[in-house]
């Protein structure tokens, strides 16, 4: 359950160092490529959308991957934050940097409040109940016309500004990238701490986790609050990237698309959802010239991955790595006696 375990060999440490150096190299190259691509307005837009999906997928992974709850209301919570921010900044004329924390806190609290009844449920029944919440949120977005603009949606009038720079185009891409990197570091530390151990213990058997003294409800609520806040961050970024907001932008299909990216890249892995988002979210834009075949190619790719890589791309790679590391583990008695000495 904990990523490490009691055994630390020199070979293991060297392998870990090599992995860290490799990860930093890949991150630097990725950021470099993104910076180059962001000079073109269209690729900057596609990049922003990809980064927003990577943020969303990372947030959903905390819930669906690490705590075993598939929240189909994820899109609705994202929409709630976006609508709330737009309402506060453009209708109520609140300063942006006051409205943003309010909108994100609102998303986190709404996620917990709407999710609380569902937290008593498990597996399929939790997912079903979260679907009902999502449908209720979509209905709210449609009928609350003074707040949301109804089914026809609302256009974003004013882009937010940071240090005198309007956050649009490549500046929005940089903002999304900075948020994704910060979020990745935060989630990485979280899941490697005792919180991550307890999240996985609850996911694998919540009755057992409770019997071992873990406050199951508390950890589920915290995971839900974090996941909902991340949904809200993505919702706000998506709104400013697209420049438009409507109930369709944040419906159940959005939740399913994000879930697909999590499963495609690898559930319960930090990099998996990011890999899933990077590979899947630009596809609709890249395949625009063959739009008749677009959905077929997209669907075939997903089905093939699920058939041959059910743990997702990163999940498969990590499983192979774990299997290899097990074969070189020494007898624990030796390690224990060495530690005692």
């Amino acid at each position: 359950m904990s990523p490490g375990g009691p055994i630390h060999t020199l070979k293991g440490r060297l392998a870990q160092l090599a992995r860290s150096v490799g990860a930093i190299f890949v991150a630097v190259v990725t950021v470099g490529v993104m910076l180059i691509l962001s000079w073109n307005p269209y690729t900057a837009f596609v990049l922003s959308v990809t980064l927003v999906f990577a943020i969303w997928a990372s947030g959903m992974n905390l819930l669906a991957g690490y705590t075993g709850q598939l929240p189909l209301m994820f899109g609705g919570i994202a929409g709630l934050a976006a609508y709330l921010l737009l309402y506060l900044t453009e209708t109520c004329r609140w300063p942006y940097w006051l409205a943003l924390p309010m909108a994100l806190t609102g998303a986190g609290m709404a996620g917990v409040l709407l999710g609380l009844p569902s937290l008593r449920l498990r597996g399929f029944y939790f997912t079903l109940s979260s679907l009902v919440v999502q449908l209720a949120l979509t209905l709210f977005f449609v009928v609350a016309i003074p707040f949301t603009g109804g089914d026809i949606g609302r256009t974003v009038q004013v882009q937010p500004r940071l240090f005198g720079v309007s956050l649009q185009g490549r500046y929005l891409t940089y903002t999304a990238l900075a948020i994704l990197l910060s979020l990745t570091v935060f989630l990485s530390r979280l899941v490697r701490s005792h919180w991550g151990t307890f999240f996985r213990a609850i996911r694998d058997d919540d009755v057992l986790a409770g019997a071992l003294g873990i406050n199951v409800t508390l950890y589920k609520v915290v995971a839900f609050a974090i996941g909902s806040t991340v949904a809200g961050i993505g919702g706000v970024l998506y709104m400013y990237t697209v420049g438009f907001i409507s109930p369709r932008s944040y419906d159940v299909l959005l939740s399913l698309t994000i879930w697909l990216m999590v499963g495609f890249g690898g559930r319960a892995t930090i990099l998996g959802p990011i890999v899933g988002a990077i590979l899947l979210s630009p596809l609709p834009y890249l395949l625009q010239s063959v739009y008749l075949l677009r959905d077929i190619i997209y669907g075939t790719l997903v089905i093939l991955t699920m058939l041959f890589l059910p743990e997702g791309i990163v999940g498969r790679l990590q499983r192979r790595e774990r299997a290899e590391s097990r074969t070189i583990q020494p007898d624990l008695s030796v390690a224990t006696s060495m530690r005692k000495a």
Binding site: S2, G5, I7, T197, D205, A211, L212, G213, Q329, L332
Partner: protein, 250 residues
Amino acid sequence: MKGDGVPLLRVQGLTKRFGGVCALRGLTLFLREGETVGMIGPNGSGKSTFVNVLSGELRPDAGAAEFRGKALPLGQPHQIVRMGIARTFQHIRLYEAETVWENVRVPALAHYRRLGLRSPDEVVEAALADVGLLQKAALRAGQLTLYEKRLLEIAMRLATRPQLLMLDEPAAGLNAEEIRQLLAFLKALRRRLTLFIIEHTMRVVVELADRVVVLSSGEKIAEDTPQAILVNEEVIRVYLGGVNVNREGS
């Protein structure tokens, strides 16, 4: 006979219904510190329900319980564990895909600070050494034998440093040799813990328990020493199906 210590657990009028079925009917019970109490009864008599309620997994419809004079927060499993009560399950529950070490590390992480320790690894090592599984710490739990899995379950509870350990059918599925080993282990364990054991294997109850409680249809029908229970007419009729276990030598 042990069990002359101070009262550790008092259960008063515990009732639990599932729809029209009354699984526990106003059960009253007490446990003294240091004693080992066995609970027997036919299938469906409410034994596991009693443990489920007392460990907080189920909320009772009526009744209350006190542990060391403090009200037990029934329905709050994690708080009950923190008060010093741990339980195992009738059907073994482990994190089978994880290693033995990682299984015990889950409760160790949850409790080492409360226990005033600097590292959860100290707790894990002590618990695994207690049950004799330290050499198998790097194995996955799913690779263990049934008996070892039972020991791992107990090690996970020992990592919470309980004062009362409730074992739900610990000998279920074990062969005669494994039962002998389990008995030896539990005899050592009862010197430092109060044990409450639900068991169908009479040999385990007779050899371990200072006192036996017999349930039938959610009600306590007898409570006495194991020797007295074995010759109790009512118990023989309800639970043992008219067969005198002493004579049969089970």
